[in-house]
Subunit: 417 residues, 2 copies
């Protein structure tokens, strides 16, 4: 078998393994450090490829300084900045700890996390619970209301959902995501139907397991954040699927793509944990009133794990309504999806797009095709203010830089040629 055939076979195998994964929400763990591998009380995880404190963008620094207050390691945000810069805290990226997080993606030892598991392989993935819109930590927002919300999530929301998830004996997140694509979501920046589907699954169990006033409080929180709540289930779901394609000999598919506001990076199946990075791009977007591109932080977050498995920007044809949020026209949304078939290894058996007659979503970014066709993966995403403490200022479209695919392909060639 020549090398080309070996690569094709490996990529086909990868798609098979991805299709077989069934991400089930099996638990909420109240202390991330109890379940996330290699995490101790002084470890803070973040989105994107790893980077040192000095190179971090404003929102990421702010989110870290804030979460140190939440963790009780310091008493105010200024002290948080000092502690973070002191070398006392160990930083690492979510992706290398089986985790993902939207925007700054900060994951701290004492935060509650969703635990997703594939029943067959018993592999797991982790993600914090979405805080909703407004001033929120994941965009580097900080203030008493941010801390209060995080504390409510830890003491009220997470324990109640934990009980309900146990009573439900798990919730099938893949079923929710695939159905949500038939209901106008693309499951990255539009998650409304996914949230309603999750609410429809969890609520009867909430009613069985917690006090009615708590059930009502939680139901209302999910409803008010319907646009975004399910993102933090969609992401670890995609992470678990993408991880199934890791470490396959000859496999040229991307298994992680993530941004930290400074760098964007990819990992490739056969190239193990090596990151291939490029400067994070600016997002071409629609801004909330009072903000413009000059206020924007470069692209940020682990949420591009969606695109890695064929949803998000790759399934925009399923979500014409999203153009009112990220910009563009309905026809462009369709043509964006169509272009992504050019650079992917196959069509998803799991995710299908009604407006393309239920064609499977374009799945498995092949670094060879990206480089050969000069066709970068397309991303849609939220936009953070470049300074800490402000939060989201818009949403829009961008594409992954070609450089990092060229670097990865070079390393791939070096390994096999």
């Amino acid at each position: 078998m020549d090398i080309k055939n070996k690569i094709e076979a490996a990529n086909k195998d990868a798609l098979e393994r991805m299709a077989k994964i069934q991400p089930i929400l099996v638990d909420i763990e109240l202390e991330a450090m109890n379940v996330i591998p290699a995490m101790d009380e002084k470890t803070i995880l973040h989105a994107g490829p790893p980077l040192e404190w000095d190179r971090m963008c404003g929102p990421l620094k702010g989110a870290i300084a804030g979460i140190l207050v939440y963790e009780g390691l310091t008493t105010d945000i200024e002290e948080g900045y000092k502690m973070a810069a002191s070398g006392e805290i160990q930083f690492d990226c979510n992706h290398d700890h089986d985790a993902v997080g939207p925007m700054t993606g900060v994951t701290a030892p004492h935060q509650p996390v969703f635990v997703l598991e594939d029943k067959e392989t018993r592999k797991k993935s982790y993600c914090t619970i979405n805080e909703g819109r407004g001033k929120v930590l994941r965009f580097g927002g900080w203030g008493p209301e941010v801390l209060e919300r995080l504390q409510w999530m830890k003491s009220v929301l997470a324990p109640a959902l934990k009980k309900a998830i146990a009573h439900a004996k798990g919730i099938d997140i893949k079923a929710i995501i695939s159905e949500s694509l038939h209901m106008g979501d693309e499951a990255h920046n539009r998650n409304r139907s996914g949230t309603y589907l999750f609410m429809s699954e969890i609520t009867p169990h909430l009613m069985e397991t917690v006090d009615i006033s708590i059930a009502k409080e939680i139901f209302t929180f999910m409803k008010e954040n319907a646009d975004i709540f399910n993102l933090n289930l969609s992401m670890p779901h995609s992470k678990l699927i993408a991880d199934a394609a890791r470490d396959i000999d000859y496999c040229s598919l991307v298994v992680a793509m993530a941004r930290n506001g400074t760098d964007i990076g990819i990992q490739v199946s056969t190239l193990s944990r090596e990151w291939f990075n490029a400067p994070a791009t600016m997002v071409d977007g629609l801004y909330f009133p009072g903000f413009s591109e000059k206020d924007a932080c470069p692209d940020l977050g682990d949420s591009t794990i969606s695109e890695v498995v064929g949803i998000g920007g790759f399934s925009m044809a399923a979500s014409p309504a999203i153009v009112s949020f990220v910009g563009g026209s309905a026809a462009e949304a369709v043509s964006r999806t169509e272009r992504m078939y050019e650079i992917t290894a196959g069509k998803s058996r799991t995710f299908s797009i009604p407006s393309l007659n239920f064609r499977g979503a374009p799945t498995g970014i092949d670094i060879r095709k990206v480089v050969e066709l000069n066709e970068p993966p397309l991303i849609n995403t939220g936009i953070a203010h470049k300074e800490a403490g402000i939060g989201q200022i818009g949403a829009g479209l961008t594409s992954a830089p070609l450089d990092m695919f060229q670097d990865a392909l070079r390393a791939f060639g070096k390994k096999y040629l």
Copy 2:
């Protein structure tokens, strides 16, 4: 002003009046006869234009015989048939009593009904609560489980929802329907997102007003019937909007279109309560396993009130996923919507279609255009078995016969020329 200008002005006025209507779910009345005009203990309302017992189709006869048992007017279904045939019961069509009903559309004096109201005009519309899928009265299904479900709906479901609706101080159904069109519904044969949106609105109030075990039972009933539950809110919502266009001098727009399984009929604004009928058509559809066209009853139900206001078959472009239920391709769904712009008076300000860049739905069927262009209104719909007691056997597409539009246009001409 010549007559053509008078008609154009009247039709424009009609669209304005329709756009202003805000259908709010204000109550559930436990006894239909307490609120539906001109209804007594011996009145049974049904879908479509009026017709006498002998001409009724199998499912409608079966539903009537069944509901007489539910009403306590007789003890078994055979006696129900005899009583219905005896002349003792008065039949009339829903539309002439401010009501609508899906399929057979049977509405009986002691059934609970949703009450929708427009706050400005104080006009009201009524509809029974959807029974869900399987063997159900509205398709002429009968048996102990049908009766039991109807009794549970009367004694448990309706009183609980009534309390929750009162606690919510009403639920804005137009907001739900217009959002559901951005979430893959067309709000006639696909109502899943609409149901989830309704659940998200009502559940916090259910939790406040009824016992938790009842709240859970009702939540689960709505969830299990998500595909269809919201239809019985979408329909009276559309009825209230369409009724706003009634009785406008020179207005050539359709204000009701409905089928009883024997006839299909329309009412036209300036022609008041006169029905223009044609034989009900057969539906070209996808059949459930074990059934085929030879089992099918001709087209049935008041649900084409959806098409009258621009949703349903007229907004199929918003709902590519529906083709898996009613047949056709995603491209055909788009072209069906595009054809409907030809025969309508304008674009809806309320309902918009994301895949057409949020173009307003084609609204206000103009009998002049239908006849001139030989372009019949397109309908998508469920298919009932032609015999009573069996229920739904499929779903599909049909178009309204041109004859009745020609007849209506002739009457229109006679009035003004």
